[in-house]
């Protein structure tokens, strides 16, 4: 029998994350990545020379060409193995799964997973900005009909879910409301000035029907870094290690137009694979960090992971307290919906927050039960999925 991934060999030993900002202050993606990397190395009790693996998500504004090499040069790293992981919003979670494999295989002792980017407001809401994230097939056959990027893609999912299962706008809004309650206790959140109500969400402008402004993520600048290490990595072990207990990925489509289903996503297969590897199920999970570019993304994720049956997500979120105090704490940092989407690092924020919670370092928003966390990264329009199960040892 071939060697299987061994649970417990690869652990998250360091995290670093910059406060999301609307203005990067003239700094580049490389500058932001370096600052986050420095924080993570320090957090892990390591020295820069201990880093022997580098997995980076793509840059937001620089050239992709030889990107890992560009990063290694800028930060003067000499990894024995490096690569760029491009799975859209799932890239950050994807770096963790791949780092776990490298560490488990004995290739790397301390693998630095880096993500971040600078948001360019000049480009974002333009034809050029929309085309930058489209495939050639989308440019040829979709763009002539005026799609609004991810907004219209997720609106198609929400509309079909509403029509098929009777999900209500109030139920979807509740997700943003609970996450804002969490964000009120996160000084780094972009939006933590005042709590939200369901009425606030529904009174915000309908950008692409049925999506309201306050159900849509706000792009911004930032970076986050995570170090995945082999046990006995030579560090001073500043924290209890958080182990990568399982992971699973799945893919069914690039453009949502051609997805096998609008309402059932590949998260289902990704989560099943992760559960199988970890030897646990949805009932064992203490908290979740779910990629939240839109409220509908969280609702579909909850259903497909198995916290409720397909179609019952609306009622589930209505009846479940998703805040840090609740029975299923979800996105306890406020999620991207309250923290902002720091380019590719938005997906890393779900990892860093899960690690804080599992370590018991989440301060006033610390959850009670914190043994096992599920993190999901989602890219495109429910296109690429990477599900991680993290466990405090």
């Amino acid at each position: 029998m071939s060697k299987m991934f061994q649970r417990g060999q690869a652990s998250i030993t360091g995290i670093g994350e910059l406060k999301p900002s609307l203005d990067a202050g003239g700094r580049t993606t490389l500058d932001l990545l370096g600052e986050a990397a420095g924080q993570a190395i320090k957090d892990a009790g390591l020295h820069k020379e201990d880093i022997d693996g580098l997995l980076v998500t793509p840059p937001s504004e620089d050239s992709y060409f030889l990107w890992p090499s560009q990063v290694a040069e800028y930060l003067q790293l000499s990894p024995v193995f490096m690569n760029m992981v491009e799975l859209g919003g799932a890239s950050a979670a994807g770096t963790i799964a791949r780092a776990a494999l490298l560490v488990d295989a004995g290739i790397c002792k301390n693998c630095l997973c880096l993500s971040g980017g600078v948001w360019d407001k000049q480009v974002f809401n333009t034809r050029e900005g929309k085309m930058a994230v489209m495939s050639q097939a989308e440019i040829d056959y979709d763009l002539p009909y005026g799609p609004m990027g991810f907004n219209s893609g997720y609106a198609l999912i929400a509309r079909r879910h509403i029509s098929q299962y009777g999900t209500t706008p109030e139920q979807l809004a509740k997700i943003a409301v609970d996450q804002r309650t969490n964000a009120m206790l996160n000084p780094d959140a972009l939006f933590n000035q005042k709590p939200l109500t369901v009425e606030d969400v529904l009174a915000s402008p309908v950008i692409v029907d049925p999506l309201h402004l306050l159900e849509i993520v706000r792009p911004c600048s930032g970076a986050a870094a995570v170090i995945v290490s082999r046990l006995n990595n030579g560090s001073d072990q500043m924290h209890d290690p958080v182990t990568i207990w399982g992971f699973g990925e799945a893919y069914t489509h690039n453009s949502i137009i051609y997805a096998p289903s609008l309402t059932e996503s590949p998260i289902k297969a990704a989560a099943n694979r992760a559960f199988q590897m970890a030897g646990v199920n949805a009932n064992d999970i203490d908290l979740v960090s779910l990629y939240d570019c839109y409220t509908i993304t969280v609702l579909i994720s909850l259903e497909d992971i198995g916290f409720c049956r397909k179609g019952e997500g609306g009622k589930f979120v209505q009846d479940t307290d998703l805040t840090y105090k609740g029975s299923l704490p979800c996105n306890t940092h406020g999620g991207q919906l309250s923290c902002g989407q720091t380019s590719f690092a938005g997906g890393m924020s779900h990892v860093t927050e899960a690690v804080r919670q599992l370590r018991g370092e989440a301060g006033p928003r610390q959850v009670g039960k914190n043994r096992l966390a599920l993190v999901n990264g989602n890219g495109g329009v429910m296109s690429t999925q990477c599900c991680l199960i993290l466990r405090r040892m």
Binding site: T126, R127, D142, Y145, G146, M148, N151, A155, V208, D209
Partner: protein, 127 residues
């Protein structure tokens, strides 16, 4: 431009929507490709679409970042499921916003936009 894109747009210019069909899989294909995505055979046939379909889902765009659409808002961006079994992005026209719904039967029509003839859909006569 590859032949398959050329054929697709040329047929549209004469007011016809043609689809690729794989004789070995017996499946229709959208969007046009250089080979069948199911069996990877490069020999594909072209056949006229029936023009019948239904709205699989839709989004009403109230705010558009695309300059040529700013005057068009609100407009209906939709996924149409054609009778042939394939899905395609399109617009629903001649349909008031309170009439559109998931599974609405629609039929093919054409508009001119940006110097191109585009296949779009309107509610079926019998709907």
């Amino acid at each position: 431009m590859p032949d398959y894109k050329d054929i697709y747009w040329q047929k549209l210019a004469t007011g016809k929507l043609w689809l690729q069909f794989c004789p070995s899989c017996q499946k229709f294909i959208f969007y046009p490709r250089g080979l069948c995505p199911y069996c990877l055979e490069p020999e594909l046939e072209w056949t006229p679409a029936s023009g019948q379909g239904k709205v699989h889902s839709y989004a009403i765009v109230n705010v558009s970042a695309l300059p040529e659409f700013k005057e068009e808002t609100p407009y209906i961006y939709a996924v149409i499921e054609l009778a042939e079994g394939v899905k395609m992005p399109s617009n629903l026209i001649d349909c008031s916003l309170d009439k559109v719904h998931v599974d609405l039967p629609v039929e093919l029509t054409f508009i001119e936009r940006d110097g191109k003839t585009l296949p779009v859909f309107k509610p079926s006569e019998e709907a």
